[in-house]
Assembly symmetry: C2
Homo-oligomer: 232 residues x 2
DNA sequence: TCAAAAGTGTTCTCCCTACACCCATGG
DNA sequence: CCATGGGTGTAGGGAGAACACTTTTGA
């Protein structure tokens, strides 16, 4: 880099600031993470989270959404900032602080929309080595997701609008890593009264049809206002 | 600022990055926040959280602790990063992104150690207008504190090493803004088995003595490892 | 007729909640 | 002797956990 190119000068050293987005999707049986293959140095050819440098006229939230859209064409159904990583040597080029986001997408709605980008879904238990400190970031994102799902209905953001009870249960089981009794899970969901039972059915297996449900956000908000705590 | 003083140049614009520390203390009856009065512009004379610019050779965690120590001489018994604020215009001087921390101190151990600095404790319901977006930051910090206290024993970080059951209950009530039944609260604490009942007593009122307790972190860790969830 | 998955109900236990009495002390 | 606050016990209800049978369908 020549001196002429360095046009932005400050009295004190400033770090660069990026956003990184950990995007979770659920394929019906397993939790997945969307990674992009890096083109340039450093870590060329490694997998990493979509993200990039924040612009001076946008907030981190806006930057995260912009980068996410640019690199993956995805519209997340949920996004939340969860931690900022600032180890001085985490990027070999210069001091880079990254603000990390956790995003959830309804994977079914966008399958195949990956464009020409080298983006790919990886099951949560088959993640390749990641660039920078992204393995740490992933671990933290998963912990936050597990924490959040206990008291917020964000699990529904990973499912299609209509789903079966079994899909919902499999989702929770794969995120939390525990198994539920099928009958107790159904009872609990019905008791919570945040699901709409639809008239439609599907054939998830060739054996027998299953009724479809949708998430009732109005009922959820009612309950929340009355001092209610969702828990799994 | 003259051109000669602007010695740190980059190809792309970089924001400045600071840390800010929301420090909570409990005076025995109310939750308090430590604020410092700003000397320089902008917001000269306004109250704000202790904090400052991050150095290029330190992580945000290190920077937050350094600033906290420099400005208040306090050693927090607990500190945790909780959110990063990045609205482009939140600082009138230049683009400043701040990484906000939540800290708890045992207020009794440091009373009067405020040095010559203009630092002062404010009860949580009598907070003056704050500089920058610090009122938003405070609101978020309080929300995080309330969220954390449900499942982590961080409340004990606000109490002296020895405390009465009433002090503990008052602490929880003032943080969560709800009242507990005295008998049920005591029963729950005893049942959790994370308190050491000491042989000592104090006279919190001139009426009758009360037994002192200390927090038993070993028992808490045992329970945590067995898949236990602390809840209030 | 058999295998596989959907749908549903009961019992037991534990924890939370509401609630009342006794005791020690200082005024 | 009375007001104040500390310390403890009990009964009832609700939610989670354990658990089994029936139904539907394709092979």
């Amino acid at each position: 880099m020549t001196m002429e190119e360095k046009r932005y000068c400050y009295r004190y050293p400033h770090p660069a600031v990026t956003t990184d987005c950990v995007i979770f999707g659920f394929d019906g049986s397993r939790l997945n993470v969307l990674l992009v293959k890096r083109g340039g140095e450093p870590y060329s050819g490694w997998w990493a989270f979509p993200g990039g440098f924040i612009r001076m006229d946008e907030s981190a939230d806006e930057g995260a959404l912009r980068e996410l859209c640019e690199e993956t064409q995805l519209k997340p159904s949920y996004i939340e900032q969860f931690h900022t990583y600032s180890e001085p040597l985490r990027d070999p080029r210069e001091r880079v602080i990254t603000i990390a986001y956790l995003a959830l997408v309804k994977i079914q709605e966008v399958k195949g929309g990956d464009d020409a980008k080298e983006a790919q879904w990886f099951p949560i238990d088959h993640i390749p080595h990641l660039a920078f400190d992204h393995d740490v970031i992933l671990r933290d994102a998963l912990a936050r997701l597990r924490e959040r799902i206990h008291f917020h209905p964000i699990g529904f953001e990973l499912l299609p609008d209509k789903f079966t009870l079994r899909e919902l249960q499999t989702l929770y089981e794969s995120i939390l890593g525990i198994r539920f009794d099928r009958r107790n899970f159904a009872k609990k969901m019905h008791h919570l009264d945040i699901l709409n039972q639809l008239d439609e059915t599907v054939w998830p297996t060739p054996k027998r049809e299953a009724t479809l449900y949708s998430f009732n956000i109005e009922k959820y908000n009612e309950l929340k206002q009355r001092g209610f705590r969702l828990e799994f």
